[in-house]
């Protein structure tokens, strides 16, 4: 009898170690970013799992005063209708140019996938929902940072309106340029993860992703996609092919 707890705990320990090793290095789980055998992607997954294990899931990033708002460059795609800068998608660019001509009155945000009520929101409808304004630091992978005030709807409010199915694990974002990306539910339901339509007290400028961009405050800047058009809740991890970061050689999770 006295041996039993010891055996159990030893077995639990071995099992725990084996499964955590699997978690860290796994390339085949459908709940983990695929590594395709690339050691850099294994390192990314190690960082992802370590941060999910060691960091609080609800901690808020620092918020600043209005006086601390700084200059902020607009980089990457600065206008989806322009073919000379950024990741231009001819079809998306054309659609974007037409919507912009009408001040985005006809723009819609589709929310679909593993939700009970697939929905489509106009900009006016989003602006009527309960908003959140936050002054936060944007951290670009290049090394620069900027502080700006963002106003928008918490992503979790929009997802709740569509009703996430219990099987939903990831949220994907599709845009008017060639970029798409996703986040897990920890970041998606975080109170500071918002769909922003305002910046520094005005409508979001074109260069910063008008009419609607994502703010994922606990990750590096490129996760905060600009020029949103569609949100998809998925049950399994999907790397989004050539539109997503992984197949372009970039990390999917960027907490650091």
């Amino acid at each position: 009898m006295t041996d039993r707890p010891l055996q159990l705990s030893r077995r639990a320990l071995i099992g725990g170690l084996a499964s955590s090793g699997g978690l860290l290095l796994s390339g085949c789980s459908d709940q983990q970013p695929p590594t395709y055998g690339n050691i850099l992607r294994m390192g990314d997954n190690l960082t992802y799992n370590a941060q999910r294990l060691l960091l609080s899931r609800s901690a808020l990033v620092a918020e600043y005063d209005r006086s601390q708002i700084s200059s902020m460059p607009a980089i990457g795609t600065i206008d989806p209708s322009r073919s000379d800068v950024g990741l231009h998608d001819p079809q998306g660019g054309e659609a974007y140019a037409a919507l912009r001509k009408g001040d985005f009155a006809d723009w819609r945000l589709k929310v679909e996938g593993s939700v009970n009520n697939p929905k489509s929101f106009s900009l006016a409808e989003l602006k009527q929902m309960q908003s959140r304004t936050q002054i936060t630091r944007h951290t670009c992978e290049q090394g620069w940072t900027a502080i700006a005030e963002w106003t928008g709807v918490p992503l979790r409010t929009v997802l709740a309106a569509a009703g996430i199915r219990p099987s939903g694990r990831f949220v994907q974002f599709h845009t008017f340029d060639l970029m798409a990306d996703g986040i897990d539910m920890v970041d998606a339901l975080h109170p500071q993860t918002i769909l922003a339509y305002g910046m520094n007290g005005r409508d979001l400028p074109i260069g910063h992703g008008a009419p609607l961009r994502l703010r994922v405050e606990r990750q590096i800047g490129y996760k905060s996609l600009k020029f949103l058009r569609r949100i998809v809740v998925t049950d399994k991890f999907n790397d989004l092919g050539r539109a997503g970061p992984i197949q372009n050689g970039w990390a999917w999770y960027n907490g650091i």
Binding site: G43, T47, Q68, S71, T145, N200, Q219, G255
Partner: protein, 253 residues
């Protein structure tokens, strides 16, 4: 106690196994960290103080490194607010040189190895008394005369061949103490202070270093210190019998 006796006995005879293992783990990781770190720096070779810093903000200084040095191409800036000193935005017209896709991931992969090596080293160094006995300078060794004698000994060429490993004279003690107890932990701490996820949990990091950009600047200065240490370290090995020194750090003596 037995560990300490063994340590005292072996004191003048080369490097202990755990010193050798952690030395090479950290050395390998640092090599990759420097390579990937310089690549990351080349994407944005400007440094700032505080929390915000970018191409539209005056830098403290800019490092003349790579194609992005003094080379950014913006459309005319527009103000966020009516006031004449308002922060601005501007569209970047040409994508800068950027290899961060692999360089960032490689940096963090190497950082995990570095952290494992550093934690193992510090644990062994403190648990065995190695830190206090072999590295930490004694008060009498810090006397000006003793330090000056050691400086002079290091300036005389050719240097006499040295036995690998402890005991160390004062300059060596000071150099190793600064590196393992200050500079290396500081690299780790300033590194994670640039992480938005970690600072959400530990905002004290931002308070300690004065902001995310300050941490980045201190990360760079500490790197510079470590790079100078590394050059002197390698020079000293070359000047005091490189084969014997290398053998000492691989085989122990």
């Amino acid at each position: 106690m037995r560990l300490r006796e063994a340590e005292a006995k072996v004191g003048s005879r080369g490097h202990r196994l755990w010193v050798r293992l952690t030395h090479w783990l950290i050395a390998g990781a640092v090599f990759v960290l420097i390579y990937s770190g310089v690549t990351i720096l080349m994407a944005h070779p400007r440094f700032y103080w505080g929390n915000a810093g970018n191409d539209l903000i005056q830098p403290l200084f800019e490092v003349p490194l790579g194609p992005n040095y003094h080379h950014v191409s913006f459309a005319p800036a527009t103000r966020f607010f009516p006031s004449h000193n308002s922060p601005v935005t501007a569209d970047l017209l040409v994508e800068p040189w950027n290899q961060n896709s692999w360089a960032r991931s490689l940096h963090f992969l190497a950082a995990w190895c570095f952290l494992a090596g550093l934690l193992a080293y510090l644990t062994f160094a403190f648990a065995s008394g190695h830190a206090r006995r072999v590295l930490w300078p004694r008060r009498d060794e810090l006397r000006r005369k003793n330090v000056w004698q050691d400086v002079q000994a290091h300036l005389r060429l050719p240097m006499p061949a040295a036995e690998p490993g402890p005991p160390y004279a004062i300059l060596q003690k000071l150099a190793y103490t600064l590196v393992v107890f200050l500079a290396l932990p500081l690299m780790f701490l300033t590194g994670i202070t640039m992480s938005p996820a970690i600072t959400a949990d530990y905002p004290i990091l931002l308070a300690i270093f004065g902001g995310a950009q300050s941490a980045r600047t201190i990360h760079f200065f500490t790197f510079t210190f470590l790079a100078i240490f590394l050059l002197i370290h390698l020079a000293m090995i070359l000047l005091t019998g490189p084969l014997r020194q290398l053998r000492g750090m691989i085989l122990g003596n």
